[in-house]
């Protein structure tokens, strides 16, 4: 059985792509504005702070898995540490969170497309086609989802990322100064705002079981988080020197607006290309989240993924039709990011401490037993 399962595993190296791919999503298009409200031009400090927090949380996750010994995903962890009833309640929460994550990423991307490219297009069209593609991908198993993550990191990195450097032509490097113009509290507020952008690594809780030598992948996960931080720093650097502080407040998607700047002789308005290629950025997240949700259901109530997948996709499709206005989408986004924030900030350290104490207690118990003998 174990030998047979080995086929579906991914090598530790690919955790880099799954973690990094899941972290960078739709938020990177607009986080400058939100960050600017809190910390102004000192945003980059908040990004570093939040990045370090994410590093620590990833470390905690890996420690928890190591401490637990037998458990391989969050479903088993919850049952191991919270018992069957409470654990399963938490598990249902997790599955719902994954579904919400897929939903919000899907809806936010469609919103961008609607605003920038096809204002009259119905949500259902893109929703349908994206979910059909998701169906095809998830049907191919975790490996095919990871393959998509690889493309979702490599292709945008080769195409979108270089385009962001064109605005440096109009850079005002003095926008950075004075450094540390804001109080510590403001910076922490900014960090809280930007932690949401690092979300995505928590999906690791679900697919950890599918990594060959799980603990081996730790450094790749950390590296992925570091790389995410690097990308955010580059983006915030370019936006800070390009926009002035007041201007950013009025630009809804500052990163996309940066994409308007590059000009080459045979094509203009690069943001259209960016939005198109952005399918490859959001799509892996949707697939990962949906895969995690169906996998969670399978682990919990042994529901076949083949059966739960269409149901889950139809649910998301229907749900995506209900969010039509900017406010509704925004509220949904805030809701999901709040859950996500408390999940990583609250749940992961709590689980870690719990695992640590259980281990200690058990260790002491066995020590006592030994000394008794």
């Amino acid at each position: 059985m174990t030998l047979n399962r080995e086929r579906f595993f991914i090598s530790p190296f690919f955790v880099f792509f799954t973690v990094h791919g899941a972290q960078i999503g739709i938020g990177v298009l607009s986080f400058q504005r939100r960050l600017n409200e809190k910390v102004g031009h000192d945003g980059w400090i908040s990004i570093i702070v939040a990045g370090i927090v994410a590093h620590i949380l990833i470390w905690m996750m890996y420690q928890t898995f190591q401490l637990s010994g037998t458990s391989e995903d969050v479903i088993q962890l919850n049952i191991q540490y919270f018992g069957k009833w409470l654990g399963n309640v938490l598990n249902i929460g997790f599955v719902c969170y994954f579904l919400l994550l897929a939903l919000i990423v899907l809806r936010l991307y469609i919103e961008v497309v609607q605003v920038w490219m096809f204002p009259l297009m119905g949500t259902w069209q893109f929703s349908l086609i994206l979910l059909l593609l998701t169906y095809y991908t998830v049907l191919g198993g975790f490996r095919s989802v990871v393959g998509l993550c690889l493309w979702g990191v490599v292709i945008p990195l080769l195409t979108i990322f270089p385009m962001l450097f064109f605005p440096l032509e109009y850079a005002h490097y003095r926008n950075f100064f004075p450094i540390l113009d804001h109080s510590m509290l403001d910076i922490l507020k900014g960090a809280k705002e930007v932690t949401v952008e690092y979300l995505g690594f928590e999906l690791l809780l679900m697919y950890y079981a599918f990594i060959k030598d799980g603990q081996q992948s730790h450094r790749w996960a950390q590296l992925a988080n570091g790389f995410t931080m690097f990308i955010y720093l580059v983006v915030i650097f370019i936006s800070t020197v390009f926009y002035n502080e007041e201007q950013v407040k009025h630009v809804i998607w500052p990163t996309l607006t940066l994409g308007k700047i590059p000009e080459i002789p045979f094509i203009e308005r690069m943001e259209y290309i960016i939005i198109s290629i952005y399918v490859l950025v959001v799509f892996p997240i949707i697939c990962l989240a949906i895969w995690s949700a169906t996998r969670g259901l399978k682990q919990m109530v042994s529901l076949k993924q083949r059966l739960s997948l269409p149901v889950v996709l139809i649910t998301i499709f229907v749900a995506s039709l209900f969010f039509n206005t900017r406010e509704e989408i925004d509220q949904l986004g805030k809701f999901v990011s709040t859950i996500g924030f408390y999940l990583v900030i609250g749940y992961i350290p709590f689980l870690y401490l719990l695992a640590l104490f259980t281990k200690r207690l058990k260790g002491k118990a066995s020590m006592n037993e030994r000394s008794m003998i």
Binding site: F14, M117, L133, G147, L148, P265, R269
Partner: protein, 503 residues
Amino acid sequence: MSIFSFFFKRKPNNPKTLAQLLQKLKQSSDFATLEFDINGHDFSIAYFDSLVDPKLLQQQVLCHLQRDVSNYTTFSVRDLQQIIPVQRIEITSDVQTIETKLLKGFALIRFKNDERSWALINLANENLGLRQNNDSENEFSVVGPKVGFVENIGTNLHLLRRQINTPNLVFRELTIGTMSKTKVVIAYIDGIIDEQTLETVIQRVNEIEFDIVFDTSIIDQLLSDNSSSPFPSFVSTERVDRVVYALVGGQVAILADGSPYVITGPSTLFDFFTSPEDYYLPWVLGSFFRLIRMFGVMFSILASPVYVAVLTYHYEMIPKDLLGPIIFSRSNVPFPPTLEVLFLEITIELLREAGARLPTKVAQTLGIVGGIVIGQASVEAALTSNILLIIVSLAALASFTTPIFKMSNTIRFIRFPIILFASFWGGVGIAFAICLLLIHLGRLKSFGNPYLVPLYPLRVKDFADSFIRSSYPFTAKRPSYLRPQTFWRYDPNKAKKKKDIDE
């Protein structure tokens, strides 16, 4: 087997005795039976006139039988080998064997006094009706050997055996086809090939159920892991050097009698874009041309969809300097870009298809008439724009740079769905299509081996011979994704050793 197999399910009426078999075979006029009575030895020879070589029959069999049999007082089937100078005369009493062998061009000799065992002599005329040489014109290369495989499997095996001079080269013979009984050979190099892959291949070939094997491409389709994919699962080639290279790298080759194309596998996407010429040119040039080819494929797939997307939805993307020419060339065209593109693309497909079906000399004329006259006329009649004409013909040109014909067909095909996606959702549609393509390629397998390797799963070391063709000191190792038993093709240190300046 179709659903109707139920109705046709009946007991095969195989002849039980030799008399019944001969009775059945005699229905054909080309089945000949010669009766002899030489010096009290009463015997007969039966064979298919159309299958045996008359020269062999006369010189090796009839001649000796007529002359030498009379010297014996008692003569049985077992003594035939003494007088007939043909290697391996088979003695059998199995009617089923006789039937198959007779149909392969053997002659049956039986003696009246011995009704239990019969002799079978191989007199098959192997080369009758088959061409002797193949200049590999369908996969042409300027540099390098031009010998290609022919329809005769014996010649093909000879070509392989001559170049791979090692006892480790193994040919395994199987018979496929309920009606054609085609000889199929699986070739591999023992000690290099991954055992598991070989097992998969042999198992799959054994499972094939078909009536007549016309060509290896039928075996190709029956073997493929996902038969509904437009992408070919295996490379099929008529070039000897390609097959030798594949075998040495740790792949399996499948040959079938009557087919000048040989299948090699497990293949990856890159195998379809490498040409033997890459290895005959210096590595810098080889790599450059390989990159050009890959760029050509990308261009060929994306050029017309991008035209559709930009002109239908994203005309803001056209810079103002370019706007003038486009307006000028499109102002009189009454169709939307999608129809315009489909019109031209289908015209090109028609030209290609007609060119392939017509005799070579007519096809050339047609190419000129079609390419120049129709193209020019349709622009002047304002059916299409000048710019599109250029784009579409460049894309067509680029798609033909792919060395493997099957892949070049695939590339011509997949642009149509992408054009439709582009006409529905513009740039995002193209991105969707690319996404779909990548997922599909990621899921594809060839003999259980991932198709996109070394890209996914990532094998950094195997990149030495993928996008670029590195120089030979760097390609000493066999690709690891094939899991060969021995990794080194040759000693790289010997090749790599560098002398210091002026030494």
